[in-house]
Symmetry: C2
Subunit: 340 residues, 2 copies
């Protein structure tokens, strides 16, 4: 089922709608939307009466979940998870209790609980969650659990190098009865295992921010995708990646046949208190370069959230070769990444 088809059907599951109400809540072009609507009518999945479209329940062979609203009532742009997703936030908060703390050797650090839920909701809004296979490379944010708790995804696979996180996710998913989550111990320095290639509709990752690191992480994720029409999400900061690096990575994305559909500035904030990073700071270049800077009293580290979508078959490019693993983690701009 295409994204547009989901966006139409889930909205109709809230009640009959006219053409204009439907097109207000979908992502594609008028031309493609009209085609999709025509197809659904022809197949009898929806019917039109007095100018209103409605679901034809007799012709629908599976449950259509109703659309969950999350548009911020104040600004109209951000995500207000207290609308239809309030339970999700509460459940996720409980699910991540006693989570593993960040480890220096993997450049870890997790975002705020609400920001993880926001990611899941933004993906849901784009119709990248319902009945989809989702590949997550590195998941100290525990996004898999947030998506799993939604109950809409077909499969969520977490590929993660840190066994503590693999174990935590596996255990919590079991305790919570989330059957859609699979975990695999995987280091992104290696090729993606064959059985994970070409299986997924979308991916999510937070790459290390050197240029080779970014390319390698994203390319591994691209390998997991089915092809044209598949999407991907990743975080990227301005703090450790200059605009020249952004330009390089955008060039790379376009050359791989992906279009950038969203760049949400500073969508994720990394809380100091919960990450307990104090001792990491000593090895940051930032601390060495700026005398007497002290430890932060506010949450300052943040990243922007990219969404990309393959407009054609994916074009896999030659990846950079690394002589030292340090090249993956550190360059002249990574001032808040631990030096070993």
């Amino acid at each position: 089922m295409s994204r547009t088809e989901y966006q139409i059907l889930r909205l109709l599951a809230t009640g009959p709608k006219d053409f204009w109400q439907l097109i207000s809540k979908q992502d594609t072009s008028i031309k493609e939307f009209a085609q999709e609507l025509k197809n659904l009518c022809r197949r009898g999945v929806i019917k039109k009466e007095n100018g209103l479209f409605e679901l034809n329940r007799e012709k629908i062979d599976r449950k259509i979940n109703k659309y969950f609203e999350s548009c911020c009532r104040v600004c109209g742009d951000g995500i207000d998870f207290t609308r239809d997703f309030k339970t999700l936030l509460n459940n996720f908060e409980k699910a991540v209790e006693k989570r593993p703390l960040p480890r220096e050797e993997y450049d870890q650090g997790f975002m705020r609980i609400e920001d993880t839920v926001k990611r899941a909701i933004f993906m849901y809004e784009r119709a990248d969650v319902e009945k989809k296979n989702i590949f997550i490379l590195g998941d100290d944010d525990l996004l898999s659990l947030a998506i799993g708790l939604m109950g809409f995804a077909n499969l969520v696979t977490v590929a993660e190098v840190d066994e503590r996180i693999v174990d935590f996710i596996r255990k919590r998913a079991k305790d919570l009865g989330i059957s859609s989550i699979r975990t695999v111990n995987y280091n992104a320095l290696n090729e993606l295992p064959f059985n994970l290639c070409g299986q997924y509709d979308t991916f999510v990752t937070d790459p290390v921010e050197t240029l080779p690191g970014l390319k390698i992480f994203i390319a591994r994720c691209m390998k997991s995708l089915k092809g044209a029409g598949s999407s991907g999400y990743f975080g990227l900061t301005h703090l450790e990646a200059s605009l020249k690096k952004w330009w390089e990575i955008e060039k790379f994305l376009l050359n791989c046949s992906f279009v950038i559909t969203d760049i949400l500035r500073d969508f994720s904030l990394y809380p100091e208190d919960e990450n307990r990073w104090e001792k990491f700071y000593q090895s940051y270049r930032l601390i060495k370069e700026i005398p007497d800077v002290g430890l932060p009293g506010v949450d300052w580290y943040r990243s922007s959230f990219f969404r990309i979508e393959a407009v054609n078959e994916i074009n896999f490019l030659q990846l950079p070769l690394l002589s030292f693993s340090e090249e993956l983690y550190l360059d002249d701009e990574t001032w808040a990444t631990p030096h070993s």
Copy 2:
């Protein structure tokens, strides 16, 4: 003065701040930020005492306006203009009273009042307004008046083909005592006049959405810019531009040496009632393709907002040649654009 310098100084104008508070409200990398902070200290423009930076008023030769907060208190992502920009919204509402209504021949239609103000605030947040020269190509949204009312810009030039709009902006700016606004009657089909080239720090435009149209509008705007470090903003819809067209235009931007820094989905909504478009609809392809669709009872037409920034000297590419002016306005995807 660089963007980062402005972002530091305007925040310090609200009171002393430590390193972490300052870096929380700026856009550049840690490395570049630390360098800028060091320069400001060395020049004596700011001083550091007990770990806090503060303005050294004796060394500042011009007024530094304090930072205006606009971050949405509910979702933390969108813009809440009722915080420090409430007066701006009210004043803009009055300034646009009796504005010219859209004309079919120019594919016009203006966004909601609050969305125009949101654009101005987002640009302000990026430090693209204060003391800057801003070039606006086509301004039926009257963004020039919103920016002018802020009182922060150095110069706002509106290049506009429709004399009614030129006259309206000129008259209102005069009535309101906004001296920063200049207007020029200009058709984007022609080369940008020499005296407008290379003069501006940022541009804003809402291009027609055919591929040649997009390239021509954006390239004219790029010509107005000073060069590396200059920025630009434009609207682009999903409704009349497929993702393949998005990919083409992103490729074009990158090849011109611009990086995409923001894509804000559906940031602007176009109100049906105020635009009084009813009679335009008859000539839309949408109406011909979809029988009995009727006129919309909800606002449905919307566009995403792009921000781009030149990471190097701008690379001006060969522009498409048009045989008919129709090629500028219409293609197979422009289903809500008037056919003449």
